[in-house]
Amino acid sequence: MDLSFSKAELEFRKEIRSWLRENVPEEQLESFDTQVGFQQHRDWEKTLHAGNWGMVTWPKEYGGRGCSLIEWLIFEEEYYRAKAPLRVNQNGLFLLGPTLMEFGSKEQKERFLPKMALGEEIWAQGWSEPNAGSDMAAIRTKAIRKGEKYVVTGQKIWSTRAVWADWIFGMFRTDPQSERHHGLSFILVPLHSKGVTIRPIAQLNGLTGFAEVFFDEVEVPADCLLGEEGDGWKVAMATAGFERGLMLRSPARFQETARRLVDLYKKNKQQADNDPSIREAVLRAYLDAESYCLLTYQTASRLVNGGHIGPESSTNKVFWSELDQSMHSTALSIIGARADLMSGITGTELTADWLEGWLFAQSGPIYAGTNEVQRNIISERMLGMPR
């Protein structure tokens, strides 16, 4: 155990810090759930790529730097510290990317990964269907093999980024007779294909962060199949593991929120101390964000040393999503009488970002597998309790 950074790690930190200092746009970009913002974020991905920071853990041949997971965590720390823009291509970079690395053919990797790192192709996810949310095995959208193509018919829903993205990935039923986990295949579909209709869905904040995607006999080249036909469940489970796991939810994100929360409390201490629950909640935010960071470094170290990620990715999912909810609730308690306001009152601080964050935090325990499903996984796979 050595909890200090090596010289190389410190160098790496210095390098990314100075690059970010020079390149992070001064003005905050629009939300990537608007058309303008989407393009701004796509441009930012290109800027990152130009600095060779598109996806630091990927192998160099696919547009990465071949960094270790520890370096990834350092990158993320600096990234959040610099208040750099959110990653519009996170579905591609963190979910599909690692899955392609594990299950993709050489051709597929070469075809998809570099354009992903470059921000040229932005990915939507197609996990859910109207009757297959938590229960992914209930998927019904079909992809029937006809010669060198799959013909896709059906409907996905809650597809994040789908409104303006280029591609979508997901599971499709390639064997129409099959049931549940069987007969599914993991397929990549270009969203600009004939027969694809996208109906944007507005979220609580009024922006269209996700969409319903309808497929009407959409023809997809057969080489868009990832893994073997019928192996979709296996491939998707690996992807879902990444999603809950290490890559997507950097501790830095929550530590930055905790830092802002401590700041908010200090600035509003007198008013905040009226509510005796706040001081405790602020302390807890700090400790929990710190614990999340520690566990992540521990897991990263284990993986670096050859270990594998297990059901503990579910403990992560529950922990960060509840932490995020609780930090934002605490912030609203501090803001108190102005908690619901989106515009500022003269002479007071603008707190709309906390309110937006609070709304967003409510989705944490729902997406990427509800926390109820995660707790089932924890009890069944980690503790071995009966199904």
Binding site: I201, Q203, A272, D275, I278, R338, D340
Partner: protein
């Protein structure tokens, strides 16, 4: 000792419920949102015609003379439908405040309200903001001299403030002339406390109805939504999410009803009872919001589904009328004072 409502009170509640659930539908609320800040005058006029607006005004001034105990159940129903028009604030804040004042002008204002000549708003004693200022003729507020004054809206500077709840129409307010003094500052402490109590109580009562609405939506959704070949409402995890809301709500209700009674009776501990009610009811609504959303899953997170109307309203009701910190501090001051009576015989003493 009788902690029940009369048959009459319950009947009035039922008929109000029927009216409101028919008139104040989510699609009507959404239409008002789309009007970009223009109030729903038809709805207000309907409520005026039905006598709901003037219901708490004394009979001799043309109202129905309902008291806070009579009206609390109606306020709950207004919360249930997330009524955006300022009916509850008019009946439970503006009217009782004016009734507290002597002199001709307050009576005149009340008569104007009954007749539908104009509307009256109050400035929030915490932020100075005024709900629905643009549709009001007068704003009641404490001036810098701590006198309670009625300011004319004509000529005043209104700056619209945006809330997360598109149904909340709220403004920064700067009067152009001093306003007519309703009560000199020697009664400031008392009126200021009264105003806060009235606002907090109004919010608490509405929060009960809001909680019930969010719970009802979730129960109904989870009965019909199937996952893993079963309605998700049959899973214990989902059941217990909602059972917890039901428990919190059950135990919040009597605290609000007691507050209604204490306000009516000028009970010595009325401010504490109001604070208790505000905390309990807003916390119930906050849990209802969180757990109902969780029970709905992604559907609850969409704009097109109605749940967020009620979630956002619950946030407004919690932050206004004194936030939880204000009410907790007020309770703590008493609770830890040396002469505070508590324990088995102190509740109704």
């Amino acid at each position: 000792m009788d902690f029940t409502f009369t048959e009459e009170q319950l009947l009035l509640r039922d008929s109000t419920r029927n009216l409101l659930t028919t008139e104040v539908t989510p699609s009507r609320l959404r239409k008002q949102w789309e009007s970009h800040g223009i109030a729903d005058a038809d709805l207000w006029n309907k409520m005026l015609d039905l006598g709901i607006i003037s219901s708490t005004i004394p009979e001799e001034l043309g109202g129905s003379g309902l008291n806070s105990v009579d009206f609390v159940l109606l306020a709950e129903e207004c919360g249930y439908v997330a009524l955006a028009e300022p009916v509850v604030y008019t009946a439970l804040v503006v009217v009782p405040l004016l009734c507290e004042l002597e002199g001709d002008f307050p009576r005149e204002l009340l008569s104007g309200l009954v007749k539908g000549d104009y509307r009256i708003s109050v400035a929030c004693p915490f932020t100075g903001l005024v709900e629905d200022a643009d549709t009001s003729a007068f704003v009641l507020k404490f001036n810098s001299n701590k006198d309670l004054v009625a300011c004319s809206v004509t000529g005043a500077e209104l700056s619209p403030i945006r809330s997360i709840d598109p149904g909340r129409r709220v403004f920064g307010f700067k009067e152009c002339e001093p306003g007519k003094v309703l009560m000199e500052n020697e009664r400031f402490e008392c009126l200021h406390e009264l105003l806060i109590n009235l606002m907090a109580f109004a919010n608490a009562a509405q929060s009960l109805g809001l909680s019930q609405r969010m719970l009802d939506l979730a129960v109904s959704y989870t009965k019909d939504r199937y996952q893993f070949r079963k309605p998700i409402g049959s899973f214990q995890a989902v059941k217990h999410l909602l059972a917890n809301v039901a428990i919190k709500l059950e135990f919040a209700k009597p605290s609000v009803y007691r507050a209604a009674h204490s306000l009516l009776q000028y009970a010595p501990k009325r401010s504490l009872h109001v604070s208790h009610a505000k905390i309990a009811a807003c916390e119930a609504a906050s849990l209802a919001a969180k757990n109902s959303l969780q029970a709905h899953g992604a559907m609850g997170y969409t704009w097109e589904y109605d749940l967020h109307i009620f979630i956002k309203r619950s946030l407004v009701l919690s932050s206004t009328g004194g936030d939880l910190g204000f009410h907790k501090a007020r309770l703590l001051d008493s609770l830890f004072s040396n002469d505070f009576q508590l324990g088995p015989t102190a509740t109704f003493s």
